[in-house]
Protein backbone atom coordinates (compact mmCIF):
# COMPACT_ATOMS: atom_id res chain seq x y z
CA UNK A 1 0.00 0.00 0.00
CA UNK A 2 1.12 3.55 -0.72
CA UNK A 3 1.48 5.55 2.47
CA UNK A 4 0.14 9.10 2.47
CA UNK A 5 2.32 10.29 5.33
CA UNK A 6 5.69 8.86 6.32
CA UNK A 7 7.52 10.21 9.36
CA UNK A 8 10.94 8.73 9.98
CA UNK A 9 13.23 9.28 12.94
CA UNK A 10 11.85 12.76 13.42
CA UNK A 11 13.65 15.01 15.88
CA UNK A 12 12.24 18.46 16.62
CA UNK A 13 13.65 20.97 19.07
CA UNK A 14 12.33 24.22 20.55
CA UNK A 15 15.34 26.15 21.77
CA UNK A 16 16.82 23.60 24.17
CA UNK A 17 13.70 21.51 24.66
CA UNK A 18 13.57 18.24 22.79
CA UNK A 19 9.93 17.98 21.70
CA UNK A 20 10.29 14.90 19.49
CA UNK A 21 13.16 12.47 19.73
CA UNK A 22 13.16 10.01 16.87
CA UNK A 23 9.48 9.48 16.10
CA UNK A 24 8.57 7.22 13.17
CA UNK A 25 5.11 6.38 11.84
CA UNK A 26 3.08 5.94 8.69
CA UNK A 27 -0.50 6.81 7.78
CA UNK A 28 -2.34 5.47 4.77
CA UNK A 29 -5.02 6.91 2.51
CA UNK A 30 -8.52 6.47 3.89
CA UNK A 31 -7.19 6.06 7.38
CA UNK A 32 -7.91 7.98 10.57
CA UNK A 33 -4.87 7.89 12.81
CA UNK A 34 -5.37 8.97 16.42
CA UNK A 35 -2.39 10.41 18.28
CA UNK A 36 -2.44 10.05 22.05
CA UNK A 37 0.13 10.78 24.70
CA UNK A 38 0.62 12.70 27.93
CA UNK A 39 0.89 16.48 28.01
CA UNK A 40 4.20 17.56 26.52
CA UNK A 41 4.60 14.29 24.64
CA UNK A 42 4.93 16.08 21.30
CA UNK A 43 1.47 15.49 19.79
CA UNK A 44 1.07 19.09 18.67
CA UNK A 45 4.68 19.29 17.58
CA UNK A 46 4.21 16.20 15.42
CA UNK A 47 1.15 17.72 13.70
CA UNK A 48 2.84 21.09 13.22
CA UNK A 49 5.89 19.48 11.68
CA UNK A 50 3.76 17.43 9.29
CA UNK A 51 1.95 20.69 8.42
CA UNK A 52 5.32 22.23 7.54
CA UNK A 53 5.15 24.80 10.33
CA UNK A 54 8.21 23.53 12.18
CA UNK A 55 11.54 22.39 10.77
CA UNK A 56 12.91 18.95 11.57
CA UNK A 57 16.24 19.00 13.41
CA UNK A 58 16.85 15.58 11.89
CA UNK A 59 14.83 12.80 10.34
CA UNK A 60 12.19 13.47 7.73
CA UNK A 61 8.53 14.08 7.03
CA UNK A 62 7.09 12.99 3.72
CA UNK A 63 3.51 13.93 2.77
CA UNK A 64 2.16 12.53 -0.52
CA UNK A 65 5.73 11.87 -1.57
CA UNK A 66 7.02 15.38 -0.90
CA UNK A 67 8.26 17.60 1.88
CA UNK A 68 5.32 19.53 3.35
CA UNK A 69 6.46 22.99 2.17
CA UNK A 70 6.85 21.71 -1.38
CA UNK A 71 3.24 20.65 -1.77
CA UNK A 72 0.87 22.78 -3.89
CA UNK A 73 -1.12 25.35 -1.87
CA UNK A 74 -4.26 23.90 -0.31
CA UNK A 75 -2.93 20.34 0.03
CA UNK A 76 -2.78 20.24 3.82
CA UNK A 77 -5.53 21.52 6.10
CA UNK A 78 -4.54 22.04 9.73
CA UNK A 79 -6.83 22.88 12.63
CA UNK A 80 -4.76 23.97 15.65
CA UNK A 81 -5.62 23.12 19.23
CA UNK A 82 -6.25 26.69 20.27
CA UNK A 83 -7.10 29.25 17.63
CA UNK A 84 -5.03 32.25 18.55
CA UNK A 85 -6.99 34.60 16.32
CA UNK A 86 -8.32 38.05 17.15
CA UNK A 87 -12.01 37.40 17.75
CA UNK A 88 -12.89 41.02 17.03
CA UNK A 89 -11.54 40.63 13.47
CA UNK A 90 -14.18 41.88 10.98
CA UNK A 91 -15.34 38.48 9.73
CA UNK A 92 -18.49 36.38 9.79
CA UNK A 93 -18.62 32.58 9.87
CA UNK A 94 -19.02 32.63 6.09
CA UNK A 95 -15.94 34.83 5.71
CA UNK A 96 -13.83 32.48 7.84
CA UNK A 97 -14.96 29.34 6.01
CA UNK A 98 -14.43 31.07 2.64
CA UNK A 99 -10.77 31.60 3.57
CA UNK A 100 -10.35 27.86 3.16
CA UNK A 101 -10.69 28.44 -0.60
CA UNK A 102 -7.99 31.13 -0.75
CA UNK A 103 -4.84 28.96 -0.97
CA UNK A 104 -5.98 27.12 -4.10
CA UNK A 105 -7.20 30.33 -5.78
CA UNK A 106 -3.79 31.97 -5.71
CA UNK A 107 -3.46 35.52 -6.98
CA UNK A 108 -5.40 35.55 -10.20
CA UNK A 109 -8.43 33.26 -9.98
CA UNK A 110 -11.78 34.69 -8.95
CA UNK A 111 -13.80 33.41 -6.02
CA UNK A 112 -16.50 31.77 -8.13
CA UNK A 113 -19.56 29.57 -7.98
CA UNK A 114 -17.52 26.45 -7.36
CA UNK A 115 -15.99 28.10 -4.31
CA UNK A 116 -19.34 29.29 -2.96
CA UNK A 117 -20.66 25.75 -3.32
CA UNK A 118 -17.71 24.30 -1.43
CA UNK A 119 -18.25 26.80 1.40
CA UNK A 120 -21.96 25.97 1.55
CA UNK A 121 -21.21 22.23 1.59
CA UNK A 122 -18.71 22.63 4.43
CA UNK A 123 -21.16 24.74 6.45
CA UNK A 124 -23.84 22.11 5.93
CA UNK A 125 -21.54 19.28 7.01
CA UNK A 126 -20.81 21.05 10.27
CA UNK A 127 -24.47 22.11 10.63
CA UNK A 128 -23.60 25.77 10.57
CA UNK A 129 -25.78 27.09 7.74
CA UNK A 130 -27.90 29.23 10.03
CA UNK A 131 -24.83 30.74 11.65
CA UNK A 132 -23.12 31.70 8.39
CA UNK A 133 -23.94 35.42 8.73
CA UNK A 134 -22.94 35.64 12.37
CA UNK A 135 -19.85 37.55 13.47
CA UNK A 136 -17.17 35.25 14.89
CA UNK A 137 -17.13 37.02 18.24
CA UNK A 138 -20.76 35.97 18.76
CA UNK A 139 -20.01 32.21 18.61
CA UNK A 140 -19.78 29.73 21.47
CA UNK A 141 -16.59 27.70 21.89
CA UNK A 142 -18.07 24.69 20.13
CA UNK A 143 -19.35 26.83 17.27
CA UNK A 144 -15.93 28.44 16.84
CA UNK A 145 -14.34 25.01 16.66
CA UNK A 146 -16.87 23.89 14.06
CA UNK A 147 -16.26 27.03 12.00
CA UNK A 148 -12.55 26.26 11.84
CA UNK A 149 -13.14 22.63 10.94
CA UNK A 150 -15.59 23.84 8.26
CA UNK A 151 -12.84 26.09 6.86
CA UNK A 152 -10.52 23.07 6.69
CA UNK A 153 -13.22 21.05 4.87
CA UNK A 154 -13.97 23.90 2.45
CA UNK A 155 -10.30 23.86 1.51
CA UNK A 156 -10.88 20.38 0.02
CA UNK A 157 -7.43 19.31 1.20
CA UNK A 158 -5.77 15.99 0.46
CA UNK A 159 -4.57 15.63 4.05
CA UNK A 160 -6.36 16.73 7.23
CA UNK A 161 -4.59 17.40 10.54
CA UNK A 162 -6.64 18.08 13.68
CA UNK A 163 -5.18 19.00 17.05
CA UNK A 164 -7.58 18.02 19.85
CA UNK A 165 -10.68 19.39 18.14
CA UNK A 166 -12.97 17.84 20.75
CA UNK A 167 -11.43 19.50 23.81
CA UNK A 168 -14.04 21.65 25.50
CA UNK A 169 -16.85 21.08 23.00
CA UNK A 170 -20.28 19.65 23.75
CA UNK A 171 -21.33 16.11 22.87
CA UNK A 172 -23.32 17.15 19.84
CA UNK A 173 -20.39 19.05 18.35
CA UNK A 174 -18.13 16.09 19.05
CA UNK A 175 -20.49 13.75 17.27
CA UNK A 176 -20.80 15.98 14.21
CA UNK A 177 -17.01 16.29 14.07
CA UNK A 178 -16.70 12.50 14.23
CA UNK A 179 -19.18 12.04 11.41
CA UNK A 180 -17.29 14.53 9.25
CA UNK A 181 -13.98 12.78 9.91
CA UNK A 182 -15.42 9.34 9.14
CA UNK A 183 -16.96 10.65 5.93
CA UNK A 184 -13.67 12.12 4.74
CA UNK A 185 -11.83 8.92 5.65
CA UNK A 186 -14.42 6.89 3.74
CA UNK A 187 -13.62 9.13 0.76
CA UNK A 188 -9.96 8.10 0.98
CA UNK A 189 -8.45 11.00 2.91
CA UNK A 190 -5.73 10.45 5.49
CA UNK A 191 -6.72 12.15 8.77
CA UNK A 192 -4.33 12.63 11.70
CA UNK A 193 -5.82 13.77 14.95
CA UNK A 194 -4.37 14.39 18.39
CA UNK A 195 -6.75 13.58 21.21
CA UNK A 196 -7.05 13.24 24.95
CA UNK A 197 -10.18 11.17 24.76
CA UNK A 198 -9.13 7.54 24.97
CA UNK A 199 -12.56 6.11 25.75
CA UNK A 200 -13.99 6.62 22.29
CA UNK A 201 -10.81 5.98 20.31
CA UNK A 202 -12.31 2.91 18.62
CA UNK A 203 -15.23 4.97 17.27
CA UNK A 204 -12.98 7.61 15.79
CA UNK A 205 -9.84 5.89 14.55
CA UNK A 206 -8.66 3.03 12.41
CA UNK A 207 -5.27 3.16 14.01
CA UNK A 208 -3.88 4.66 17.17
CA UNK A 209 -0.37 5.79 17.98
CA UNK A 210 0.86 6.39 21.51
CA UNK A 211 3.72 8.85 21.64
CA UNK A 212 5.95 10.26 24.31
CA UNK A 213 8.51 12.12 22.24
CA UNK A 214 8.89 8.88 20.32
CA UNK A 215 6.42 6.22 19.31
CA UNK A 216 5.55 3.98 22.28
CA UNK A 217 2.95 1.85 20.52
CA UNK A 218 1.07 1.81 17.22
CA UNK A 219 -1.74 -0.37 15.93
CA UNK A 220 -5.51 -0.68 15.91
CA UNK A 221 -7.16 0.85 18.99
CA UNK A 222 -7.71 -2.71 20.28
CA UNK A 223 -4.12 -3.76 19.79
CA UNK A 224 -2.86 -0.63 21.48
CA UNK A 225 -5.26 -1.15 24.39
CA UNK A 226 -4.00 -4.70 24.86
CA UNK A 227 -0.35 -3.63 24.64
CA UNK A 228 -0.59 -1.85 27.99
CA UNK A 229 0.94 1.37 26.66
CA UNK A 230 -2.60 2.67 26.61
CA UNK A 231 -3.12 2.07 30.32
CA UNK A 232 0.14 3.79 31.22
CA UNK A 233 -0.90 6.85 29.25
CA UNK A 234 -4.36 6.84 30.75
CA UNK A 235 -2.81 6.85 34.21
CA UNK A 236 -0.58 9.74 33.22
CA UNK A 237 -3.33 11.75 31.55
CA UNK A 238 -5.59 11.42 34.54
CA UNK A 239 -2.99 12.48 37.08
CA UNK A 240 -2.12 15.50 34.97
CA UNK A 241 -5.69 16.38 34.15
CA UNK A 242 -6.58 18.11 30.94
CA UNK A 243 -4.16 20.96 31.09
CA UNK A 244 -3.70 22.56 27.68
CA UNK A 245 -0.06 23.24 28.12
CA UNK A 246 1.52 20.85 25.67
CA UNK A 247 2.68 22.30 22.41
Amino acid sequence: MNDAIIVSNLVVRYENVLALDGASLKAGFGQALGIVGPNGSGKSTLLKTIAGLLPAASGSVCVLGKEPRELPPGTIAYVPQIEAVDWSFPATVWDVVAMGRFPRLGMFRRFGNEDRKAVRRALAQLRMEELSGRHISALSGGQQQRAFVARAIAQEPRVLLLDEPTTGVDEQTEESLREVVRELVAGGMPVLMATHDLDRAADWFDRLVVIDRRVIAIGTPDEVARSGAYAAIREHTHTHGHMRTDR
Binding site: T75, V79, D95, P103, L161
Partner: protein, 277 residues
Protein backbone atom coordinates in the same frame (compact mmCIF):
# COMPACT_ATOMS: atom_id res chain seq x y z
CA UNK B 1 -21.64 77.73 -2.24
CA UNK B 2 -20.63 76.21 -5.57
CA UNK B 3 -18.29 79.14 -6.15
CA UNK B 4 -16.59 78.43 -2.84
CA UNK B 5 -16.13 74.81 -3.80
CA UNK B 6 -14.70 75.68 -7.19
CA UNK B 7 -12.61 78.65 -6.13
CA UNK B 8 -9.49 76.71 -5.10
CA UNK B 9 -9.35 75.00 -8.48
CA UNK B 10 -8.40 78.24 -10.24
CA UNK B 11 -4.86 77.49 -9.18
CA UNK B 12 -2.87 74.68 -10.77
CA UNK B 13 -1.09 73.98 -7.49
CA UNK B 14 -4.46 73.52 -5.78
CA UNK B 15 -5.56 71.08 -8.46
CA UNK B 16 -2.41 69.09 -7.84
CA UNK B 17 -2.98 69.36 -4.10
CA UNK B 18 -6.49 67.94 -4.37
CA UNK B 19 -5.40 65.08 -6.61
CA UNK B 20 -2.59 64.27 -4.19
CA UNK B 21 -4.84 64.54 -1.16
CA UNK B 22 -7.42 62.17 -2.63
CA UNK B 23 -4.81 59.60 -3.67
CA UNK B 24 -3.03 59.81 -0.33
CA UNK B 25 -6.29 59.68 1.61
CA UNK B 26 -7.54 56.59 -0.21
CA UNK B 27 -4.21 54.78 -0.21
CA UNK B 28 -3.39 55.41 3.44
CA UNK B 29 -6.87 54.42 4.54
CA UNK B 30 -6.81 51.22 2.46
CA UNK B 31 -3.44 50.11 3.81
CA UNK B 32 -4.61 51.36 7.20
CA UNK B 33 -7.13 48.52 7.28
CA UNK B 34 -4.21 46.08 7.47
CA UNK B 35 -2.29 48.38 9.83
CA UNK B 36 -5.22 48.37 12.28
CA UNK B 37 -6.01 44.66 12.05
CA UNK B 38 -2.36 43.58 12.29
CA UNK B 39 -1.66 46.16 14.98
CA UNK B 40 1.13 47.83 13.00
CA UNK B 41 0.31 51.46 13.89
CA UNK B 42 3.57 51.92 15.72
CA UNK B 43 5.46 50.47 12.73
CA UNK B 44 3.87 53.02 10.39
CA UNK B 45 4.91 55.83 12.69
CA UNK B 46 8.40 54.38 12.95
CA UNK B 47 8.89 53.98 9.20
CA UNK B 48 7.79 57.58 8.66
CA UNK B 49 10.28 58.88 11.20
CA UNK B 50 13.10 56.74 9.87
CA UNK B 51 12.53 57.97 6.32
CA UNK B 52 13.55 61.43 7.51
CA UNK B 53 17.18 60.32 7.39
CA UNK B 54 16.68 59.35 3.74
CA UNK B 55 15.09 62.69 2.91
CA UNK B 56 17.97 64.63 4.43
CA UNK B 57 20.60 62.49 2.70
CA UNK B 58 18.79 62.85 -0.63
CA UNK B 59 18.56 66.60 -0.09
CA UNK B 60 22.22 67.00 0.79
CA UNK B 61 23.30 64.96 -2.22
CA UNK B 62 20.83 66.71 -4.49
CA UNK B 63 19.10 63.49 -5.53
CA UNK B 64 15.38 62.81 -5.79
CA UNK B 65 13.65 62.95 -2.44
CA UNK B 66 11.33 60.02 -3.23
CA UNK B 67 14.34 57.87 -4.03
CA UNK B 68 16.15 58.73 -0.79
CA UNK B 69 13.15 58.44 1.47
CA UNK B 70 11.91 55.36 -0.38
CA UNK B 71 15.15 53.42 -0.03
CA UNK B 72 15.49 54.18 3.68
CA UNK B 73 11.81 53.46 4.38
CA UNK B 74 11.86 50.12 2.57
CA UNK B 75 15.13 49.06 4.21
CA UNK B 76 13.85 49.93 7.66
CA UNK B 77 10.52 48.22 7.01
CA UNK B 78 12.30 45.02 5.99
CA UNK B 79 14.80 45.52 8.82
CA UNK B 80 12.22 45.52 11.56
CA UNK B 81 10.48 42.54 10.02
CA UNK B 82 13.78 40.69 10.04
CA UNK B 83 14.95 41.73 13.50
CA UNK B 84 11.55 40.97 14.92
CA UNK B 85 11.46 37.48 13.41
CA UNK B 86 15.05 36.46 13.89
CA UNK B 87 16.06 38.40 16.96
CA UNK B 88 14.89 37.91 20.48
CA UNK B 89 13.97 41.57 20.79
CA UNK B 90 10.34 42.61 21.03
CA UNK B 91 8.79 44.57 18.19
CA UNK B 92 8.17 47.80 20.08
CA UNK B 93 11.72 47.82 21.41
CA UNK B 94 13.08 47.24 17.89
CA UNK B 95 11.07 50.15 16.52
CA UNK B 96 11.81 52.35 19.51
CA UNK B 97 15.55 51.90 19.00
CA UNK B 98 15.96 51.71 15.22
CA UNK B 99 13.55 54.36 14.08
CA UNK B 100 14.29 57.04 16.61
CA UNK B 101 17.95 56.42 15.77
CA UNK B 102 17.33 56.98 12.06
CA UNK B 103 15.25 60.07 12.82
CA UNK B 104 18.04 61.44 14.99
CA UNK B 105 20.50 60.83 12.16
CA UNK B 106 18.32 62.97 9.90
CA UNK B 107 18.23 65.82 12.39
CA UNK B 108 21.96 65.48 13.02
CA UNK B 109 22.78 65.75 9.32
CA UNK B 110 20.38 68.64 8.89
CA UNK B 111 21.77 70.56 11.85
CA UNK B 112 25.26 70.42 10.34
CA UNK B 113 24.01 72.39 7.34
CA UNK B 114 24.83 76.07 7.56
CA UNK B 115 22.01 77.12 5.32
CA UNK B 116 18.97 76.25 7.36
CA UNK B 117 16.41 74.74 5.06
CA UNK B 118 12.70 75.38 5.20
CA UNK B 119 12.18 72.61 2.61
CA UNK B 120 13.28 69.98 5.10
CA UNK B 121 11.10 71.48 7.79
CA UNK B 122 8.12 71.07 5.47
CA UNK B 123 8.64 67.32 5.44
CA UNK B 124 8.07 67.18 9.16
CA UNK B 125 4.65 68.76 8.87
CA UNK B 126 3.86 68.37 5.18
CA UNK B 127 3.16 71.00 2.57
CA UNK B 128 0.71 69.70 0.06
CA UNK B 129 0.67 73.01 -1.84
CA UNK B 130 4.30 72.48 -2.79
CA UNK B 131 3.56 69.30 -4.75
CA UNK B 132 4.94 69.94 -8.25
CA UNK B 133 3.96 68.35 -11.58
CA UNK B 134 6.89 65.91 -11.32
CA UNK B 135 5.84 64.94 -7.81
CA UNK B 136 2.30 64.21 -8.97
CA UNK B 137 3.61 61.81 -11.61
CA UNK B 138 5.72 60.05 -8.99
CA UNK B 139 2.81 59.86 -6.55
CA UNK B 140 0.43 58.47 -9.18
CA UNK B 141 2.99 55.87 -10.30
CA UNK B 142 3.73 54.71 -6.75
CA UNK B 143 0.03 54.66 -5.88
CA UNK B 144 -0.62 52.45 -8.90
CA UNK B 145 2.09 50.02 -7.86
CA UNK B 146 0.78 49.79 -4.29
CA UNK B 147 -2.81 49.48 -5.51
CA UNK B 148 -2.10 46.71 -8.02
CA UNK B 149 0.05 44.64 -5.64
CA UNK B 150 -2.54 45.00 -2.88
CA UNK B 151 -5.32 43.90 -5.22
CA UNK B 152 -3.34 40.84 -6.34
CA UNK B 153 -2.49 39.87 -2.77
CA UNK B 154 -5.89 40.80 -1.37
CA UNK B 155 -6.87 37.28 -0.26
CA UNK B 156 -3.39 36.34 0.95
CA UNK B 157 -3.16 39.53 3.00
CA UNK B 158 -6.62 38.92 4.44
CA UNK B 159 -5.98 35.28 5.38
CA UNK B 160 -2.54 35.89 6.86
CA UNK B 161 -3.84 38.92 8.79
CA UNK B 162 -6.54 36.82 10.39
CA UNK B 163 -4.82 33.49 10.92
CA UNK B 164 -1.17 33.38 9.81
CA UNK B 165 -0.44 29.93 11.26
CA UNK B 166 -3.24 28.09 9.48
CA UNK B 167 -2.67 30.10 6.29
CA UNK B 168 0.97 29.00 6.39
CA UNK B 169 0.01 25.35 6.96
CA UNK B 170 -2.31 25.46 3.96
CA UNK B 171 0.62 26.43 1.75
CA UNK B 172 0.68 30.23 1.83
CA UNK B 173 3.95 31.95 2.60
CA UNK B 174 2.86 34.10 5.54
CA UNK B 175 6.38 35.45 6.15
CA UNK B 176 6.92 36.62 2.58
CA UNK B 177 3.45 38.19 2.52
CA UNK B 178 4.22 40.11 5.71
CA UNK B 179 7.42 41.48 4.19
CA UNK B 180 5.54 42.55 1.07
CA UNK B 181 2.94 44.26 3.25
CA UNK B 182 5.65 46.14 5.16
CA UNK B 183 7.11 47.36 1.86
CA UNK B 184 3.66 48.45 0.66
CA UNK B 185 3.15 50.37 3.90
CA UNK B 186 6.58 51.97 3.50
CA UNK B 187 5.73 53.08 -0.05
CA UNK B 188 2.36 54.42 1.10
CA UNK B 189 4.11 56.50 3.74
CA UNK B 190 6.59 57.87 1.19
CA UNK B 191 3.72 58.87 -1.08
CA UNK B 192 2.08 60.69 1.81
CA UNK B 193 5.07 62.55 3.22
CA UNK B 194 4.69 65.69 1.12
CA UNK B 195 0.99 65.89 1.86
CA UNK B 196 0.86 65.40 5.62
CA UNK B 197 4.44 65.14 6.79
CA UNK B 198 6.38 62.66 8.88
CA UNK B 199 4.76 63.49 12.19
CA UNK B 200 1.18 63.13 11.02
CA UNK B 201 1.27 60.37 8.43
CA UNK B 202 0.56 57.68 11.02
CA UNK B 203 -2.77 59.38 11.71
CA UNK B 204 -3.86 58.92 8.09
CA UNK B 205 -2.89 55.26 8.28
CA UNK B 206 -4.79 54.63 11.48
CA UNK B 207 -7.69 57.05 11.94
CA UNK B 208 -9.94 56.46 8.88
CA UNK B 209 -9.57 52.68 9.23
CA UNK B 210 -10.28 52.90 12.95
CA UNK B 211 -13.42 54.92 12.21
CA UNK B 212 -14.56 52.35 9.62
CA UNK B 213 -13.87 49.53 12.10
CA UNK B 214 -16.45 51.11 14.42
CA UNK B 215 -19.16 50.86 11.80
CA UNK B 216 -18.67 47.50 10.04
CA UNK B 217 -17.91 43.93 11.05
CA UNK B 218 -16.75 42.54 7.72
CA UNK B 219 -13.42 43.06 6.07
CA UNK B 220 -14.21 44.27 2.54
CA UNK B 221 -16.82 46.83 3.69
CA UNK B 222 -14.36 48.03 6.32
CA UNK B 223 -11.72 48.61 3.66
CA UNK B 224 -14.15 50.36 1.30
CA UNK B 225 -15.55 52.58 4.05
CA UNK B 226 -12.05 53.38 5.27
CA UNK B 227 -10.98 54.43 1.76
CA UNK B 228 -14.07 56.61 1.48
CA UNK B 229 -13.33 58.21 4.86
CA UNK B 230 -9.72 58.76 3.81
CA UNK B 231 -10.75 60.62 0.67
CA UNK B 232 -13.42 62.56 2.55
CA UNK B 233 -10.98 63.72 5.24
CA UNK B 234 -8.35 64.65 2.66
CA UNK B 235 -10.71 66.73 0.54
CA UNK B 236 -12.57 68.20 3.52
CA UNK B 237 -9.35 69.04 5.30
CA UNK B 238 -7.87 70.65 2.24
CA UNK B 239 -10.92 72.88 1.69
CA UNK B 240 -10.89 73.91 5.34
CA UNK B 241 -7.20 74.69 5.27
CA UNK B 242 -7.72 76.79 2.12
CA UNK B 243 -10.37 78.96 3.75
CA UNK B 244 -8.88 79.00 7.26
CA UNK B 245 -5.34 79.52 5.96
CA UNK B 246 -4.21 76.66 8.21
CA UNK B 247 -1.57 73.96 7.71
CA UNK B 248 -3.07 71.43 5.28
CA UNK B 249 -1.62 68.25 6.83
CA UNK B 250 -2.76 69.16 10.33
CA UNK B 251 -6.22 70.18 9.12
CA UNK B 252 -6.69 66.90 7.25
CA UNK B 253 -5.70 64.92 10.34
CA UNK B 254 -8.01 66.98 12.55
CA UNK B 255 -10.95 66.30 10.23
CA UNK B 256 -10.11 62.59 10.44
CA UNK B 257 -9.98 62.80 14.23
CA UNK B 258 -13.42 64.43 14.36
CA UNK B 259 -14.73 61.76 11.99
CA UNK B 260 -13.34 59.03 14.24
CA UNK B 261 -15.18 60.36 17.28
CA UNK B 262 -18.33 60.74 15.20
CA UNK B 263 -18.01 57.07 14.22
CA UNK B 264 -17.55 56.05 17.86
CA UNK B 265 -20.64 58.10 18.73
CA UNK B 266 -22.54 56.60 15.82
CA UNK B 267 -21.72 53.11 17.03
CA UNK B 268 -22.94 53.89 20.55
CA UNK B 269 -26.18 55.32 19.19
CA UNK B 270 -26.69 52.24 17.02
CA UNK B 271 -26.05 49.92 19.97
CA UNK B 272 -28.46 51.89 22.14
CA UNK B 273 -31.18 51.65 19.49
CA UNK B 274 -30.50 47.93 19.05
CA UNK B 275 -30.86 47.41 22.80
CA UNK B 276 -34.18 49.21 22.91
CA UNK B 277 -35.82 47.27 20.07
Amino acid sequence: MIEHLIAPFHYAFMQRAFLTAILVGILCATMGTYVILRKLAFIGDGIAHASFAGIVIAYLRGTNFYLGAGIVAVITALGIGFVHRRGKISLDTTIGVLFTGAFALGIFLMSRQRTYSVDLQSFLFGDILSVGPQDVLMIVALALVVGIVTALLFRSLLYTSFDPVVAQASGMNANAIEYVLLVLIALTIIISLQAVGIILVAALLVTPAAAAYQLTNRFAPMMALSAFFGALCAVGGLYLSYYLASASGATIVLVATVLFFAAVGGKQVRLAIARRT
